[in-house]
């Protein structure tokens, strides 16, 4: 079996896939970012990116992604925590995941109706005396719908890390005189930080690049990096500028991955305690 040159032949399809669809796309994106609309080699796109318009766009995109991630975490952590305490927790978890399998566009579309001027939310506001509001096409609706979409993806990793905690640790903490808050702060939270990090990773990066929710729910009120890329590629047809924004989005993605990467050593040390 060893030293057989044919051994690697079977890996060819996978290698071709990796070359064509992982490495080549990054190369072409970087390559195109150096060309302007008329096909001239230029650094103009990069100069453009650092002008105030794109700087503001990047900042607001980050701000929205931060808000979306923050509120997703705020809602998901307690949900995951309480879920681990239910009977039939796997079944309840499945019920949390099912909505994430319904097509994203359909869920977004539902909010067009729910938040519309004559929709149920406004009808409710009317009856409690606040009166109907323009909810759709505001940044509030954008953040709300995005949080709604991302909650299941945030709950899943946190649930898994909570579920792995050895209950003996909690008992030990209690026996040693810690109250519920101290136990949470010193035992539960540190043990679930990896789950929280992967949750942040799966929410923050897509939140930077959403474009269908911004288009359908926020009108043109919110522009994210994703919307800008889509705009440049499919509307203005300025692939060079679109690629430049994409290059920066890729850089941000790597930064976020480094920031939220798990400390392998620490994690394995925790694992070995068992």
């Amino acid at each position: 079996m060893k030293n057989n040159p044919l051994r690697f032949v079977y890996a060819v399809p996978y290698a071709v896939w990796m070359l064509l669809f992982v490495l080549a796309p990054i190369v072409v994106i970087v390559y195109y970012s150096f060309f302007d609309l008329s096909g001239q080699l230029t650094l103009g796109n990069y100069r453009n990116f650092f002008t105030s318009i794109y700087f503001k766009l990047t900042m607001s995109s980050f701000w929205y992604a931060f808000l979306i991630t923050f509120f997703s975490l705020l809602i998901s952590y307690p949900t995951a925590y309480f879920l681990t305490k239910t009977k039939h927790k796997q079944l309840w978890l499945l019920l949390i995941i099912i909505p994430s399998w319904i097509n994203l566009l359909l869920k977004t579309y539902a909010f067009i109706g729910l938040m519309g001027l004559y929709g149920p939310i406004n009808a409710f506001l009317e009856t409690i005396g606040i009166g109907s509001q323009q909810i759709l096409f505001t940044d509030f609706s954008f953040v709300f719908v995005s949080v709604y979409i991302f909650i299941p993806f945030m709950i899943l990793p946190i649930f898994n890390s909570l579920d792995k905690i050895n209950p003996a640790l909690l008992d030990a903490s209690k026996d040693l005189g810690a109250n519920a808050w101290v136990t949470f702060k010193r035992v539960v939270w540190p043990l679930t930080i990896d789950g929280v990090k992967s949750g942040i990773q799966v929410v923050f990066i897509p939140a930077l690049s959403l474009f269908m929710i911004t288009r359908l729910i926020a009108g043109n009120k919110v522009i994210t990096l994703g919307t800008a890329i889509e705009q440049q590629f499919l509307v203005t047809q300025n692939w060079g500028m679109g690629s430049t924004i994409a290059v920066f989005l890729i850089i941000f993605m790597f930064l976020i991955m480094v920031l939220t990467s798990r400390k392998e050593k620490g994690a394995s040390a925790n694992g070995k305690v068992k």
Binding site: M1, F8, Y10, A11, P13, Y14, A15, W17, M18, L20, F21, V22, A24, P25, I26, V28, I29, I75, P78, T79, F82, L83, T84, K85, T86, I96, I98, P99, W101, I102, N103, L104, L105, T108, Y109, A110, I112, G113, L114, G116, G119, Y148, I151, P167, I205, P206, L208, S209, F211, M212, R215, L216, I229, E230, G242, S243, A246, I250, M253, M257
Partner: protein, 266 residues
């Protein structure tokens, strides 16, 4: 584990209601004879009839299903091969590099995948349409299959392979009669995930689909941009039903394999 007091129960109930409300709201109004998603007038099935009499829409549904099945099949094949290749790699750092490259497409935002594939297809000269959508779906499903299959390979004891070789099995036998049966649950899970990723994808398809070709997600997007059409509601009712059937099927298959695995262990 302790029992839940009433406050957490209320909290969970609220989360569940919020998660499901939009979906049931859509389905509820799919039976509305009025035009919009407010003021329920009377019960009707006309929007469902509209879905089934709209041949263009039905062709799009068919396209979506064909793309999903084909891409899931092909990406599962490539993914299993990839997982085997990674598993048999001797050099640890090389394996780590391949794994991180593998994961790039999983964490990449859809917009980046869509945009870069669009450039790639234009450069190579692939015509935008069925082929470009199918290739993209295969491309972004492969790493997911690898991720689902690899843990199964790693938990397999190497002595199984050694034993088979000692007993005179050829390399082909080892693959088809030892390794593949062992990792079957991982392969199924990967196939199923590839299927759902393909059915769910909007952004990548939106970039690489040309004018003539459309999948359900792209079609819903363009319908939703023009405003409320209850045909979409009827469609979502049907999709919800199919999703529930798929989820139940998956749940049963997974539980069955778990049970049979337990039986084998005995």
């Amino acid at each position: 584990m302790g029992k839940l007091s009433s406050l957490p129960k209320i909290y969970l109930a609220v989360v569940f209601i919020i998660l499901y409300a939009p979906i049931f709201y859509l389905i509820y109004y799919s039976f509305n004879s009025g035009g919009g998603m407010s003021n329920f007038e009377s019960f009707t099935l006309e929007h469902y009839q509209a879905v089934f009499s709209d041949t263009r829409l039905l062709i799009i549904v068919l396209n979506t299903l064909i793309i999903a099945l084909l891409s899931a099949l092909l990406s599962t094949t490539i993914g299993v091969i990839g997982a085997l290749a990674i598993y048999f790699m001797k050099n640890k750092s090389a394996r780590q590099t391949v794994l991180s490259l593998n994961n790039i497409l999983i964490v990449s935002p859809d917009v980046i995948i869509g945009a870069s594939f669009l450039i790639l297809f234009t450069l190579i000269g692939v015509k935008l349409g069925f082929a470009s959508v199918l290739i993209s779906h295969i491309a972004f499903s492969v790493p997911i299959v690898v991720i689902m299959v690899l843990p199964k390979l790693q938990e397999m004891s190497t002595s199984l392979i050694d034993a088979a070789l000692d007993l005179g099995a050829t390399r082909k036998d080892v693959l088809t009669r030892v390794i593949l049966p062992y990792i079957k649950p991982g392969i199924f899970a990967g196939f199923f995930l590839a299927l759902t990723y393909s059915l769910d994808d909007f952004a990548v398809t939106f970039f690489v689909t040309g004018n003539g070709f459309s999948t359900l997600s792209v079609e819903i997007y363009s319908m939703a941009r023009t405003g409320i059409t209850l045909t979409i509601n009827a469609l979502s009712g049907l999709i919800f039903l199919i999703t529930m059937v798929l989820v139940l099927g998956y749940y049963i298959v997974v539980n069955k394999t778990k049970v049979s695995a337990k039986e084998v262990k005995r």
